[in-house]
Every structure is written in C-alpha cells, then in structure tokens.
C-alpha cells in the first residue's frame, strides 16, 4: 500500500516539475494552454468546493470574479499598488463581500440560493456599469500588467492553480473537511452529531470567494481589459459548471480533468466559440444522463482509484 502511495506522490511531483519548467521546453501554445488551465482549475476547484462538498450550488461566482478583477485594476492603476498586493486585495474584497451577503443569502435554500447568488451578480453588474469611478460600462485597461512578461503571468497562474488544489486537499483532510464529508453524505444526521453545518458552509463560502477573487486578479493580468458586462456575466459560471460536472463533481481530480478538457476544446475550436460551447453543453448533458458522477467520479466508482484522496489512511 505504501509503495503505491509513494508511487503516486512521485508521479505528482514529476508532473508539477514538468509544469514549472514548461516555458523552457514547450511551445507558446502549450504554455498558454496550461496557463488558462491553471486559472480555470483554481476557479472550478472553488466551485466544486461549494457544489460538490458543501451542497451549495452557486450560480454567482462571477460576483467575486468581477470584484477580484476590478480590485486588481483599480488598486494597481489608480493607487499604484504592486500587482501582487492588488491581487491579494482582490481576494480580501471578495471575502468581505461574501461576508456581507452571507446573512440574506444563507437564508435561501437549494435552487433559491442559486437564483439569489446569480441575482447578486447581476446587481453588481448594473452597479459597476453605472459607476463613474470605474469608467462606467466602458471598462478599464490594466496598464500595469503590460510591464509583466508572459512567463511571469504563467508562473503566477500555475502557482495559484496548484495552490488551490493543495488548499482543497488539505482543507478536506482537516476538521472542516471531515465535517464537510459528513454533510455531503448525510446532512441531517451530521447535525445531530454536533457538526455546525451553518459554520461549515459559511467558511467554505468565504474561502471560495476569496480564492476566486484572487484567481480573478491573475486572470485579468492575462486578459488586460475588464468591463462589467463580461466580468460579472453568467458565462463564467457556465464554464465552471460544465468543467466540474464533466470532470466529476465532488472529487478533487474532477476539476483537473474538466479544466484541461475545457481549455483544450476551447483552444482547438477557438475559431468557433459557439461550437465549443455547444459540444461542451451536449457532453455535459450526456454525462448527467449516463454517468452523473463525471469522468473521475465514474472511474472512482468502478475502479476504486483515487489519485488525490482526502481520506486519511
């Protein structure tokens, strides 16, 4: 058993090393792919944390994406803060906003929660579109980002992507994680055992908000241009949902597989964005009908095979 574990550990380390050294041996195309992959990975791990482990289907992650992106833009442009600081502030702003809306939002259950989170994002969208300070709907160019090299952005993205996976992994092995797994398996029973469900879910919500905000900061380093309509748009959540469903909801490896599939498909069909979404949507429906646990979930079920298992052995 131990040799299997260390075998997996070596494999993971190898992969990570390969990714870190990517700019030295791979083409720009692949560096871009892994960059986008890492960003989508970070975002989808957070969505998975909410939907797959806390039972909170959120259709409003774009609130934090917009907030994180705008924090990066505003603080680095207007106040000249260093970029890394602006990204961190993006995360903090997101957490604070999440805290702010948590009181009303957590009164909503199930589908109402989903709609509520979406509506909040739409509210932000309108507010930012009408806000003179951020240039109304015309958006902002993140000029300070021009100073960065492509490779720097790549490393930042890779770093935050790996960090998010690690975060989820260690989170699930912690006390919070144990509580989450209990909730996931049997919510009412776990409540009687003293698991403070509300606190668990709230913490997950806050963590996912913060990380999403930070990832968004890096994302807009790459995109350079931010405007309210797309930053707070539902399209973000659409892709996160698809990624997680196809990859395998409720597993750590799921978003990894899903993100890779998504980025690959998207780049391959970059001439025809609608087609790639069509295919994605159809695959997602197919997955739900045939293998509702997604790629990874079905593998886990059939073969009992887990790469990153949060279970304590």
């Amino acid at each position: 058993m131990d040799s299997l574990r260390s075998g997996r550990l070596y494999a993971i380390v190898l992969v990570v090393l390969a990714l870190i050294t990517l700019p030295y041996w791979a083409s720009r195309y692949w560096i871009l792919v892994i960059l986008l992959f890492s960003l989508n990975l970070g975002l989808s791990q957070m969505w998975n944390l909410l939907a797959g482990y806390s039972g909170l289907i959120s259709l409003g992650q774009q609130s934090f994406i917009g907030l994180g992106g705008y924090a990066l833009a505003v603080f680095s442009i207007y106040y000249g803060f260093p970029i890394w600081l602006s990204i961190v502030i993006g995360g903090i702003v997101s957490v604070l906003f999440a805290l702010l809306i948590s009181a009303p939002i957590f009164r909503m259950r199930g589908v109402y929660f989903a709609i509520g989170t979406w509506t909040v994002a739409e509210v932000l969208r309108i507010l930012f579109s009408n806000w003179k300070y951020v240039g109304y709907g015309m958006g902002l160019f993140v000029k300070p980002a021009y100073a960065l090299s492509f490779n720097t952005i790549y490393f930042t993205a890779l770093g935050i992507g790996i960090a998010s996976v690690a975060l989820v992994y260690f989170l699930l092995r912690s006390k919070l994680g144990l509580g989450l797994m209990a909730i996931r398996d049997e919510e009412t029973a776990s409540e009687t055992l003293g698991v403070d469900i509300f606190r668990c879910k709230l913490n997950c919500f806050l963590i996912s908000a913060g990380v999403t905000g930070a990832v968004a900061g890096v994302l807009y380093l790459h995109n350079i241009f931010i405007q309210p309509y797309s930053a707070f748009g539902i399209d973000w959540t659409v892709r996160l949902v698809f990624i997680t469903i196809i990859g395998g909801i409720g597993t750590i490896e799921g978003p990894i597989i899903g993100s890779f599939l998504y980025v690959f498909l998207h780049q391959w069909l970059s001439e025809y964005p609608s087609v790639s979404l069509l295919i994605l949507g159809s695959i997602a429906i197919g997955v739900i009908l045939i293998a509702p646990k997604g790629i990874m979930g079905t593998i886990q079920e059939k073969l009992g095979f887990e790469i990153l298992s949060p279970r304590r052995k």
Binding site: W118, L277, L278
Partner: protein, 291 residues
C-alpha cells in the same frame, strides 16, 4: 401630492402593462416548477427561441407577428414535449441537481445554436403597432404594443385556467403534481402527463416569445435576461396559482418602471432584482403562495 401622483400615472400604467408581459413569461416556469418540481433554467432561452421561430415564419409569410402564433405555438409545444419526454423525464427523481444541470446544459445549447444560425445581430419583430401609442382614457398615452401584450397575456392565462379546471387532462396534471404515486394508481401515466404539461408551458413561452419580439429587440443571448424575469415573477408571485403569477408579473413590472423613473433608465433592471432578492430573503414562497 396629487400632482406627484399625476406625474406617476404614465409610469404606473406602463409598469402594469409591462407586468402583464412579464406575467406570461413567468407562467411557463411557474407551471413546471409547481407541477414537475423542476426549475427550467432554459425557459428564457425557449422564449427567445420562439421569437426566432416567429422571425423565420415571418420571412416566409409577411404577416403580423401575432398570426405567426399559429405555427409557433404548435412548434414550441412539440419541442417542449420532446424535451420533457426524452430528456428531462430521465433525470426526474434523481435528486435536485441533475434536472437543474440538464436544463442548464439545454439553455447553453439553445443559445449557441441560435448564435450559429442567426449571428449575434439584434433582431426584432417589427410591426406597425410596435411604435404607435394610443391615448387611454384621454389623459395618458401608452405604447400600443404594451397594451396588446397585456391583453394577450390575460387571455392566455384565462384560457390556461379553464384548461386546468375544466378538462380531464388539466385535472390529471394537477393530480399528478399533488401526488405522483396516487395518480399512477388512478391509471394516469405520469411520465406522459409531465410531457404534456411541459408542452403547455412551452406553448406559453411561444406566446411570450412573440410578444417579447414585438416589444423589444432580442439577441441569441437574451435568454438569461428573461430567465431572471421569469424567476422574479414566479418567486414574487408565489407558486400554485396562475393569478398569483400574473400579479407577481404586475408587481415586478411596476417596480422596474418606477425604479427607472426615479433612479434613471440604467437602474430599471436593478429595481426588479432588488425586489427579487428581498422576497427571496424574507418570503421565498412568494407573496401570493397558496398554502
């Protein structure tokens, strides 16, 4: 005080009339939510699909968009039946999430198919009534198309109400939504019944789509906008009654227009969202929910 109210008579009337349109947008979603316990995230896109179908029909027969309903309604009903029978029925009863996600997937597929076929250009179902206003009661002018929307909406809802209360199938649908198992014991094939219910819901989406197309411009991605409106109507109005949904529409329409009047046109949608959030927080079953 009176002059203040006098100033408002335009927005109030417009708000109520617009609310009629919103009401019919929400009816389809309310039906499915109440009967099959499914939140059809693709509802907004189905409405827009109907608008495009009307557009296509009009390119063959240059008539008033309302006449295209003759084709669009049956077409949408068939689509709804097929979607429910072959797709959504497979995931019913597998928990809350799969139907939600399948509907989500469907929404994206519809949007992108429309995008591929029709390009992202703005469209509208232009008719002479789209730009006319008529005087009402001699003291205000209202856009004629809003009035038409309101009347069509009201007529549809009255027809629906008669269907549910007077026909066998309507009652069977109500029975199946009360207790699926017991309905089966009565000899009702609930899977087929749900498909018929969905067909009716998409039928209302057809009416809504044509009306929307006549009143506003639309793009392939306008669907989610109307989805949120439908949510708003259903949640504010509450489940379980057609009248409640209609009233929900009126309230939402009123809130939006008044919001635009006081805060500016950019905040029209915002007023609606705020009302939606407040109802979600304090009374998610809706203001007029039955029991």
């Amino acid at each position: 005080m009176l002059s203040f109210l006098g100033e408002l008579k335009g927005p109030i009337t417009n708000g109520l009339l617009l609310g009629g349109l919103y009401g019919i947008i929400g009816i389809g979603m309310s039906m499915i939510f109440g009967i099959v316990r499914l939140v059809n995230l693709a509802h907004g896109d189905l409405v827009i699909l109907a608008s495009y179908l009307s557009l296509v029909t009009m390119s063959f027969f240059p008539v008033n968009p309302l006449f295209t309903l003759i084709i669009v309604i049956p077409a949408m009903c068939i689509i709804g039946f097929v979607v429910q029978y072959y797709l959504l029925n497979q995931v019913l009863g597998k928990g809350m999430n799969p139907p939600l996600l399948v509907a989500f997937g469907l929404s994206i597929i519809v949007q992108n198919i429309l995008l591929l076929i029709f390009t992202p250009d703005a469209r509208t179902l232009l008719t002479s009534i789209s730009v006319k206003t008529i005087p009402l009661g001699g003291f205000i002018n209202i856009p004629l198309v809003y009035l038409v929307d309101f009347i069509c909406s009201l007529v549809t809802i009255v027809l629906l109400s008669r269907f549910f209360n007077r026909t066998y199938m309507g009652k069977a649908i109500r029975a199946a939504s009360d207790d699926e198992g017991a309905a089966q014991l009565m000899g009702i094939n609930t899977k087929t019944i749900y498909a018929f219910a969905m067909a009716i819901a998409t039928g209302t989406a057809a009416v809504a789509g044509v009306l929307v197309g006549m009143t506003f411009t639309f793009y392939p991605h306008t669907g989610p906008e109307y989805l949120i409106i439908a949510f708003g109507v259903v949640i504010v109005g509450g489940l379980g009654s057609l009248l409640g949904t209609f009233l929900g529409g009126l309230i939402l329409g009123l809130a939006q227009i008044l919001g635009a009047h006081f805060l500016g046109p950019g905040f029209q949608l915002l007023s609606g969202y705020v009302i939606l959030l407040m109802v979600l927080t304090f009374k998610p079953t809706g203001l007029f929910a039955k029991g």
